[in-house]
């Protein structure tokens, strides 16, 4: 298996490599020939080093995101500094902050407006599971109820270092994708189907209610 390299950090130092490896396996099920694979590598190298995030922040975690963008933590070292205000230009959405029921349709629409290939990082307890507001009547218990999530970054708020670590994990995922085989052809994406099934389930439960 290919072991992607991110900066000078050795592969073993990343946590939870098992999940990552199972993901790689799933992505590579179809297999590709060597010429395409080399092209893939080139593309993925470029894509992983210029992931443009959407400026999206609903609450406290968003302030930490601003700190990550500023001088001390300097997200530009990884090529993420081009924050976009329009979802049409963005590659990745960092859901930083609580998502409440009124906001959920807006978030879904933002996600749908982004061009493929697109990624989601759930930042902070709130967007992972509802966090400190788990008992609330108006909070969505995790954004993965509405959109598919690639990387979870726990914390309340996560430290800026955790943000960067989460984004590096995303870089690793991008690096092992088969751009021409699957990422670029959504009908072959193994995860797309899961997501669609889940969306349908939510819609169905709504109609019942």
């Amino acid at each position: 298996m290919k072991k992607p390299k991110i900066k000078s950090i050795p592969y073993e130092e990343f946590n939870d490599n098992e999940t990552f490896e199972s993901l790689v396996q799933k992505l590579n099920e179809n297999g590709v020939n060597i010429v395409v694979k080399s092209l893939d590598d080139l593309f993925d190298w470029g894509r992983s080093n210029s992931l443009w995030p959407l400026t999206f922040a609903t609450s406290c975690c968003g302030i930490e995101f601003m700190a990550v963008c500023a001088a001390r933590y300097d997200i530009a070292r990884f090529g993420f500094e081009v924050t976009r205000n329009s979802p049409r230009h963005a590659d990745v959405i960092l859901v930083s902050g609580t998502i409440v029921k009124k906001m959920a349709p807006v978030l879904k629409r933002l996600y749908d407006q982004m061009a493929d290939p697109k990624y989601v990082i759930a930042i902070g307890g709130c967007s992972i599971s509802g966090g400190p507001f788990r008992k609330s009547y108006h909070v969505v218990m995790g954004v993965d109820e509405i959109i598919p999530v690639d990387v979870y970054v726990p914390g309340c708020p996560p430290r800026p270092e955790a943000f960067l670590y989460g984004m590096m994990q995303l870089q690793r995922i991008v690096k092992v994708e088969n751009f021409f085989g699957t990422t670029n052809r959504k009908e072959r994406d193994p995860f797309k189907k899961e997501y669609e099934e889940r969306s349908e389930k939510i819609l169905a439960s709504q109609e019942e209610a």
Partner: protein
């Protein structure tokens, strides 16, 4: 402090309020809290204050009819009641007769039920809806008819041929998820209609099923740039209700921490405003200095943003041994930073042109709309609680209350920059003589607050942050209501933006300095 109140029958309420306004000069409606008293019915607690004499009067109005609760509006007497009453309608379903705009404000228009009613089950009736949020251009107004029946009347928010632009909820310059519907006449703003609730987390309802120490955790997450002060206010109201006196050391620590928080918040204000106006360098300068404050916080509290430091009867942990040294190192750095801010941005011609004379609020307006904090002071209203009713260590330090007369965006900007300097002065006076003593009073394992109604406020980073607490003697609060500092500011947007250019909406919103999760709670 314990709230003493008079009870006034709903039928006489409007008359009596008019009289208080005229005879007693009660021109500032501090807080308006909707209540569900169970058997007794629904009601509202009004807290009035005179800006001339400082006298305070509290009024309670009860409507016993649980089926169709109604009360007369006071929105014609105090402008800010307009939005407060909509909030009460949204959460408790009390209809205010004569109010021009009885619409929900936080929850979706198709929301079922009123969540703050004790017998409401909001989760069961409201599953996650994924269709777009409905927004109507019409609203209703209820009048009390001759025969005691409610008469419904339509009111128009936007005319059929108004040109309406949506700004938000996903917009980089609204400082969170705020949604403005703006009607335009060419490039000029005709009307602004704020739609709130995109980050309404139901904190007040959650508090009702939490023990007192648990409720503390959520205050930090409301106005995260005033985390210290918010929690301070809640601790203060509980301590006062229980008759706990904290040690001198705690008082001084809390004062220093509040001021550090204020500096943190004002730097962020500066950074974001500059960013919104296109000055990215200034943004980076601001964040460079802010990190130093966060370092100080981190050593003592363990957190950077969510600090969880104040507790009932003291603070979580004693000061870190490095604290005094770090703070002393920080003060000259901050002074140098301030000079840089002024060089790079305050004197800038573009910045001046965009701020001077734009978005003017008069003193009468800020009082009527309850805009406390820097926004009020920029219009010449002396509203600083640290001066008016000094708490903790504020009575033993010497500092100036910064006020301006002009009330434009530039004045609001300057107030904040100058306040950083005043905060530094306060810290300087206290840092060398932090008294010895315990940092935490001994409290019972289960904290119960005696029965009663209490209110306590501190000067937050952006105005008066108050906590209204009603206790029935249990270990859970019966009702907690937070006086949001940002809600009046957002309400002021309509008044202050009218006639200005749409591009200035960003500047004006930036200088008013609101934080959205604090508005939505």
């Amino acid at each position: 402090m314990v709230l003493d109140y008079q009870i006034i029958a709903p039928a006489d309420l409007h008359q009596e309020m008019l009289r208080l306004r005229a005879e007693k000069g009660m021109d500032f409606l501090v807080n308006l809290t909707g209540m569900d008293w169970g058997e007794e019915g629904f009601g509202v607690v009004y807290q009035l204050e005179s800006t001339q004499t400082g006298e305070q009067i509290n009024i309670k109005a009860i409507c016993a009819d649980r089926e169709n609760p109604t009360l007369p509006t006071v929105s014609d007497i105090w402008d800010i009641a307009n939005i407060y009453e909509r909030e009460v309608y949204d959460f408790l379903g009390i209809i205010f007769t004569g109010h021009p705009d009885m619409r929900r404000i936080y929850l979706r228009e198709d929301w079922v039920g009123y969540p703050l009613r004790k017998d409401d089950k909001p989760e069961e009736q409201n599953p996650l809806r994924m269709d777009a949020v409905p927004l109507s251009d019409e609203t209703v107004c209820y009048e009390m008819g001759e025969d005691g029946k409610l008469v419904k009347r339509k009111n128009v928010i936007f005319e059929q041929d108004d040109y309406v632009v949506n700004m938000g909820p996903q917009h980089p310059s609204t400082h969170g998820v705020l949604h403005f519907r703006v009607a335009l006449e060419g490039e000029r703003i005709k009307k602004v209609d704020p739609v709130l609730g995109y980050i309404h987390r139901g904190i007040e309802k959650m508090n009702e099923s939490m023990t007192y120490p648990q409720t503390l955790a959520l205050t930090d997450r409301m106005d995260y740039l005033g985390a210290m002060q918010n929690r301070h206010a809640l601790c203060k109201v509980i301590e006062e209700a229980m008759g706990v006196e904290v040690s001198d050391r705690v008082k001084v620590i809390r004062t220093i921490m509040d001021e550090l928080q204020r500096i943190d918040s004002h730097i962020l204000f500066f950074s974001c405003l500059c960013q919104d106006l296109g000055a990215t360098t200034a943004f980076l300068y601001g964040f460079r200095d802010r990190e130093k404050v966060l370092d100080i916080f981190e050593e003592t509290c363990g957190g950077r943003l969510i600090l969880n430091y104040n507790t009932i009867g003291g603070v979580q942990a004693d000061l870190h041994p490095n604290f005094v040294r770090r703070v002393k190192e920080f003060i000259p750095v901050m002074r140098k930073g301030l000079k840089e801010y002024n060089d790079i941005f305050t004197g800038n011609v573009i910045a001046r042109n965009r701020m001077e004379g734009v978005g003017i609020l008069t003193k009468d307006q800020v009082i009527a709309m309850g805009c406390t904090g820097g926004t009020g002071r920029a219009s010449g209203w002396h509203n600083d609680l640290r001066k008016l009713r000094p708490y903790d260590a504020y009575d033993r330090v010497d500092f100036k209350e910064i006020t301006f007369e002009k009330g434009d965006s530039f004045a609001r900007y300057m107030v904040r920059l100058l306040e950083i300097e005043e905060s530094l002065k306060i810290i300087e006076q206290l840092i060398d003589n932090i008294p010895e003593g315990s940092y935490q009073e001994k409290m019972k394992p289960i904290i119960k607050v005696p029965e009663g109604t209490y209110y306590s406020a501190v000067e937050g980073s952006r105005g008066q942050f108050g906590v209204f607490l009603e206790s029935r003697g249990d270990k859970f609060p019966y009702r907690i209501h937070y006086r949001s500092t940002g809600l009046p500011l957002v309400y002021a947007m309509d008044t202050v933006c009218r006639g200005n250019l749409i591009a200035d909406l960003v500047t004006i919103g930036g200088t008013l300095d609101y934080v959205v999760p604090d508005i939505d709670r």
